[in-house]
């Protein structure tokens, strides 16, 4: 007997499918699926569905025959998990794809971001649709409105929400007031956005005068939606700050409010900041509350406290529902999709911003 072992298939890996087994089954499933679909009329969705079922059945039964019941169950679970993941991903990718395809022509139209709809009438749209003239008009006024309204809503919501969560975590101690606040915050989370809009509108009708529709009213409506989200996320972030840090600070003779402002909040700031950003992302696309509070405008309005104001969601809504030229809705559709793409890009930038903020503020590690 020599000491060198002969290269052979290891006894330890006996009874296993080759690594390439899933790909082989996938290829077979795709071919067989295409063949079946060809018999009953081909379409992509059916092909995917049939292939997926064939793949799962094929791989699991092959595995069951070679590898045994436990491995087969494992493969089945993998198939289900991956399948669920793909199903969850499908609408997301579909949405992004649709908005990209329909929105890019609008977005690359010259001056789309730089002009308002002021003076753009159905005659221009008819000309654009019939003679191929450039599509006029843009979303500058709506973009401006969205940014102003959301900014004002953030300025209102963040102090209120953050201070509320500080009360709940640091001072609440499960007192009746704290429990009541938690309960009402939970209730507020579930308020339909149109109700928040009606509340803000009614509130300003009562204290300023009937028919008061400005960007500020919309900001108040959005705050009603935003505050519970900010409270909830900040509360969670403050709760996970270890008590040891508070005790360490108290033991140094630091007062409670200084401990909160200098130790607790800096430790939790990255989570709070990303929570706030996500809350902004949540309300930036609200349509109904803005329609009833800020009305709608086709012109640029720089004053958030006076006059009707456009925003991206209401711009999309009106362009689709009441095209500028009723006989040729094409240019309006194009503008609406362009605005939708801008809105998605805004939300995406906010999310990226949240990650960036989280990374910048995160407690430093390393030596």
């Amino acid at each position: 007997m020599t000491a060198t072992a002969v290269r052979k298939r290891s006894a330890l890996t006996k009874g296993q499918l080759p690594k390439s087994a899933p790909y082989i089954v996938l290829a077979v499933a795709l071919v067989v699926g295409a063949a079946i679909l060809a018999l009953i009329g081909f379409n992509a969705f059916g092909w995917g569905l049939v292939s997926a079922i064939l793949f799962a059945v094929g791989l699991v039964s092959w595995s069951g025959a070679v590898e045994g019941a436990r491995k087969a169950k494992d493969r089945l679970a993998t198939c289900l998990v991956v399948g669920a993941f793909l199903i969850a991903l499908l609408p997301l990718i579909s949405v992004i794809w649709t908005v990209l395809v329909n929105g890019i022509p609008g977005l690359i139209t010259p001056n789309f971001l730089g002009t308002s709809m002021n003076g753009v009438t159905g005659a221009f749209d008819n000309k654009a649709a019939e003679d191929g003239a450039p599509v006029l008009g843009g979303i500058y006024h709506a973009l401006l409105g969205t940014i102003q309204i959301t900014l004002l809503a953030t300025v209102i919501s963040v102090p209120v929400g953050l201070l509320t969560s500080i009360y709940l975590v640091e001072y609440g101690n499960d007192r009746p007031l704290a429990r009541a606040i938690t309960f009402f915050v939970d209730v507020m989370t579930g308020i339909p956005s149109i109700v928040a809009g009606l509340f803000a509108a009614a509130f300003f009708f009562a204290i300023v005068g009937p028919g008061t529709k400005t960007g500020a009213v919309a900001a108040v409506a959005l705050s009603v939606l935003m505050i519970p989200v900010v409270v909830r996320s900040s509360e969670e972030m403050l709760k996970i700050v270890p008590n040891e840090l508070r005790e360490a600070s108290y033991a140094l003779g630091v007062r409670k409010w200084r401990t909160i402002t200098k130790v607790v909040i800096p430790t939790a700031i990255s989570g709070i900041a990303s929570g706030v950003t996500l809350a902004i992302a949540r309300v930036i696309g609200e349509t109904a509350p803005i329609l009833v509070t800020a009305g709608f405008a086709t012109t640029i309005n720089n004053n958030v406290f006076g006059g009707w104001m456009a925003s991206l969601p209401t711009f999309i809504y009106t362009q689709i529902l009441n095209p500028t030229s009723p006989s040729n809705p094409g240019p309006s559709d194009q503008r609406a999709w362009g605005a939708a793409l801008v809105l998605i890009i805004l939300v995406m930038l906010l999310n990226l911003g949240a990650r960036l903020i989280a990374r910048i503020f995160a407690p430093k590690t390393g030596r």
């Binding site: 101690n173 040891e244 140094l252 003779g253 630091v254 130790v263 407690p363 430093k364």
Partner: protein, 259 residues
């Protein structure tokens, strides 16, 4: 720069539950006193009452007197914040502030209270405190790095440096070595020996060898059973607690024949 502590008839409650009953103890200035006893007997609870840290826990309250050089910590109008600047504390788990550098951790007691301090004075205080905590040589080249990047033992010594930077009269330590390896434990024990030249040190420990090594006097706490209050059984010189205890319970505990 150290004060003695005299405790008279102290009862500690959590809500209505009597956690520690009727403690009388006199802790000398510039000495190391160890509290030993089984888990749950109220050593840590009692230790916290010496700088009113128990008030952080909901429902905790005390009856009786704790005198710091004759001044009652629980007298009317006494601000717990003032008490804690005089009586510092080091905790079981090292807890440096994760958002701060090593230097800022040492200066935390000054900076968090918004006291103005010149850069030169701050540098001197950082060096003095870190030297005092036996950590200076290990971290002097990386003072601006985060404190959480240090090893567990270094972090604990950083916490001690942070505690002595506010120049307290007394330092309380709640099982400071229980999360540390033997080498770091040795470093902290050496440090405790040096600290007693300047400070009054009170340490809670589960490690009886440690109590024997570092302390001048030892207090043995015990509990009669669950739901019963913890009591101070015996308080004497460390040598007599370990070699010649007066109480049977103490002898059983230190010789390992407990329970």
């Amino acid at each position: 720069m150290s004060k003695r502590i005299d405790v008279k008839d102290l009862n500690v409650y959590y809500g209505n539950f009597l956690a520690v009953e009727d403690v009388n103890i006199n802790i000398e200035a510039k000495s190391v006193t160890a509290f030993i006893g089984p888990s749950g007997c109220g050593k840590s609870t009692f230790l916290r009452t010496l700088n009113r840290m128990h008030e952080v826990l909901p429902g905790a309250r005390v009856e009786g007197e704790v005198l710091l050089d004759g001044d009652n910590l629980y007298g009317p109008g006494v601000d717990p914040v003032t008490v804690r600047t005089q009586v510092g504390m080091v905790f079981q788990r090292p807890n440096p502030f994760p958002t701060m550098s090593i230097r800022d951790n040492v200066l935390a007691g000054v900076k968090l209270n918004n006291k103005k301090i010149s850069k030169g004075a701050a540098d001197a205080l950082v060096e003095k405190s870190l030297v005092g905590a036996n950590l200076w040589n290990e971290v002097k080249d990386r003072l601006d790095k985060p404190g959480s990047g240090l090893s567990g033992g270094q972090q604990q010594r950083l916490c001690i440096a942070r505690a002595i930077a506010v120049e307290p009269q007394v330092i309380l330590m709640d099982e400071p070595c229980s999360a540390l390896d033997p080498i770091s434990t040795l470093a902290v024990e050496d440090l405790i020996n040096e600290l007693k030249d300047q400070y009054t040190v009170v340490i809670v420990t589960h490690n009886m060898q440690q109590a024997a090594r570092v302390s001048d006097k030892t207090a043995f706490f015990n509990i009669a059973g669950t739901g019963k209050p913890g009591k101070l059984i015996e308080f004497a010189d460390t040598t007599s607690i370990f070699n010649n205890p007066a109480q049977k319970a103490t002898e059983d505990y230190v010789s390992g024949r407990f329970g």
